[in-house]
């Protein structure tokens, strides 16, 4: 596994702690950048960096498979989808709309609502932070296992998925399948209509061409 060469370098005191602090600082900075950036697509790309640093934290916890899955699914697949969806909804308008006019004449309650609406992402992040923090504080300690991490972690993971956690696993697959079928149905309905229109237009054009040929 390569562990016989690395330990003297990695097991030096504090290396793991330092790596953890560097990764968390990076990921928090990048997360703030995601919120602060005015260009939506750029913040989408910065999100990849956030997911990358989180997968680094998974690596520190010796969850290799999870770290790689994080990169493959979140950092690439989902972020790419988000970015493309943003591109298709013309994000360059966003930069021009950055200036928000503040209306003084509103009543106080409406002013509070307006400010909440403007800073929606801020409030969502504050709320989720408070929720997470209280959850962490409320449970004084997390159960720590003293078992060593198995070198064949993928096997353990696979066995857990098809024995202890098979029902959640199956439910999530059914959910994904339903989403897939829904997407197919939506796409199919739309394209059929358009095809009919096209056929009608082509027929019309052919008719006109025939008429022209007849006139000659």
């Amino acid at each position: 596994m390569g562990q016989d060469l690395l330990p003297p370098l990695l097991s030096a005191p504090g290396v793991e702690t330092w790596a953890f602090y560097i990764l968390t600082t990076l990921s928090i900075c990048l997360a703030i950048a995601v919120l602060a950036d005015r260009v939506v697509i750029r913040s989408g790309f910065i999100l990849i960096g956030v997911f990358g640093t989180i997968s680094g934290i998974f690596l520190l916890l010796s969850a290799q498979f999870l770290a790689l899955a994080q990169i493959m699914i979140y950092a690439v697949g989902i972020t790419l989808m988000v970015v493309i969806a943003l591109m298709l909804t013309n994000p360059r308008l966003e930069r021009e709309q950055a200036v928000v006019y503040y209306d003084e004449s509103l009543p106080p309650l409406a002013k509070i609502f307006a400010s909440c609406k403007r800073n929606l992402s801020l409030w969502v992040s504050v709320l989720s932070f408070v929720t997470l923090y209280s959850a962490l504080i409320g449970e004084n300690h997390w159960p720590l296992s003293d078992q060593a991490v198995s070198p064949d972690a993928v096997k353990v993971l696979g066995e857990a998925l098809v024995t202890n956690y098979s029902i959640p696993f199956e439910f999530s697959s059914v959910l994904l399948l339903a989403a897939l079928m829904g997407a197919v149905m939506l796409a199919k309905g739309e394209s059929k209509n358009r095809d009919d229109d096209n056929v009608a237009i082509v027929d019309e054009a052919k008719k006109q061409e025939n008429n022209l040929a007849l006139q000659r």
Partner: protein, 452 residues
């Protein structure tokens, strides 16, 4: 015999000479950093040098790859141009140096000296970052392959990950992001369309690609690249291409096991034989699925829609020049090499000899030759040659460059897909086919005793 025998001779000569140069240089660097320098240090300093030696050994694989990639890309560009010229009956590069063989060196100098332009209105930071993000994963992805292709050489043993193939796939997924980024940051409609096309294409073709590799991993029972490569040792019948271990029993029977080995490997009689046949067919289909998906993943013709010259100028790299363009170019050829190595390790037996040992040992001279190499001064004292690695590596080189030449032949032969044909081919043909193959393998492997 051939009308263009002269050209074929020239290309073969060029290939052999270049490959010898490349791998001699890379191995000398590796040996120097990983074995020679530590030996010298321990002689001079004794135990004090231990930490330095460990650091040196740890950085050897990285240095090996960093030395290898640029010279390999130079060679691959040259061989691609010459081979394309051969197959499309043209002259190819013939001005710079003898036979035009210094053409890529001249190109490299030209690209390094060119002005680096950032277009007006482009997002400068992301315009710069995209080539980096495109190039880095191809190095990162190549790293765990080193242990697998050298038959677990002690110098590269450090790179052997338990999740090897998944790591390579995760690294291979990242360049798509870079292409979309490059397309968007260029502030050019052609680039943007190229980037979007590459994303659509990569997402569609990643599914059959991963499913075909999952089929192989299912047969092997592990994700570890070195284990997968070593499982296939012992002749062409053991390779994953032919049934992923379903023919191991046949191989043992031919090698002297007789009817007993057949009985042990195929316990259900005729049902097992039919299932073994099904496995062989499925794995061969998987191999072609992987090659197709990989071709689309690394944007080679017939799937090079993201940079289709006739439609999009040059696609995502229209606005790139100088060093940044050179990095895109370098990464493309490195990706081709990585894909060929993955195919070699996963399907073509890694460093295994296609002739099984029970035939090889009967050929006069070969066992004596191996023994002579094993006892020589280079091997025993200087550790320059490791006999277990030497032959494995030679076979890997032959297989990998064979696949590279095959990819070039495909490029010379097939026209480009249209975007709707590409999508229909991916979603309506390849994905159902890969799922069917997967299901067949899941059931058929229960009736055959795989890998002994």
């Amino acid at each position: 015999m051939f009308a263009n025998g002269d050209e074929i001779f020239k290309i073969s000569r060029l290939t052999l000479a270049w490959l010898t140069i490349i791998f001699t240089i890379v191995w000398m660097v590796c040996w120097g950093v990983g074995i020679g320098l530590p030996m010298l240090l321990s002689q001079q300093l004794g135990d004090q040098a231990n930490l330095a030696n460990e650091i040196l050994r740890a950085v050897t694989p990285v240095i090996a790859i960093l030395v290898f990639i640029p010279i390999n890309a130079m060679f691959m560009v040259l061989i691609e141009r010459r081979a394309l010229a051969l197959w499309t009956v043209r002259k190819g590069p013939n001005r710079v140096g003898p036979d035009g063989n210094l053409q890529t060196a001249a190109d490299a100098v030209k690209l390094l000296l060119k002005e680096d332009i950032t277009p007006t209105g482009a997002d400068a930071a992301m315009h710069t970052f995209a080539p980096i993000l495109f190039f880095a994963p191809s190095i990162i992805g190549a790293v765990p392959l080193l242990a697998a292709v050298t038959n677990d050489h002690p110098l590269f043993h450090i790179l052997n990950l338990p999740t090897g193939i998944f790591y390579v796939l995760a690294a291979g997924a990242l360049p798509v992001v870079a292409l979309v980024m490059a397309g968007w940051a260029s502030n050019n409609k052609y680039s943007l369309v190229g980037g979007l096309r590459s994303a659509a294409q990569a997402i569609s073709y990643e599914i059959p690609l991963v499913l075909s590799l999952v089929t192989v991993c299912l047969m092997a029972g592990t994700l570890d690249l070195v284990k997968i490569a070593q499982q296939q040792a012992g002749g062409i019948l053991n390779w994953n291409l032919l049934g992923g271990g379903a023919l191991v029993g046949l191989n043992q029977a031919l090698g002297g096991g007789g009817a007993k080995a057949l009985e042990a490997a195929y316990p259900m009689g005729p049902v097992s034989y039919i299932c073994a046949g099904l496995l062989v067919c499925s794995l061969i289909i998987s191999f072609w699925l992987y090659l197709t998906g990989a071709c689309a993943e690394i944007n080679r013709i017939p799937f090079d829609l993201p940079e289709a010259e006739s439609e999009l100028v040059s696609g995502y790299n229209t606005e790139y020049s100088g060093m940044k363009f050179a990095i895109f170019f370098l990464a493309e050829f490195t990706n081709l090499f990585v894909v060929a190595s993955v195919t070699t390790v996963m399907f073509l037996g890694g460093g295994d000899n296609p002739i099984p040992p029970y035939i090889l040992d009967k050929i006069p001279g070969i066992p004596q030759m191996v023994a002579a190499i094993r006892d020589s001064f280079f091997c025993q004292t200087l550790h320059i040659i490791n006999p277990e690695t030497l032959f494995a590596t030679l076979w890997v080189i032959a297989k990998v460059y064979g696949l590279v030449i095959f990819a070039i032949l495909i490029r010379a032969t097939l026209p480009r897909f249209r975007i709707d044909q590409l999508m229909a081919f991916g979603w309506k043909r390849l994905i159902p086919l890969s799922l069917i193959v997967f299901i067949i393998v899941v059931f058929a492997r229960e009736f055959v005793n795989i890998h002994g």
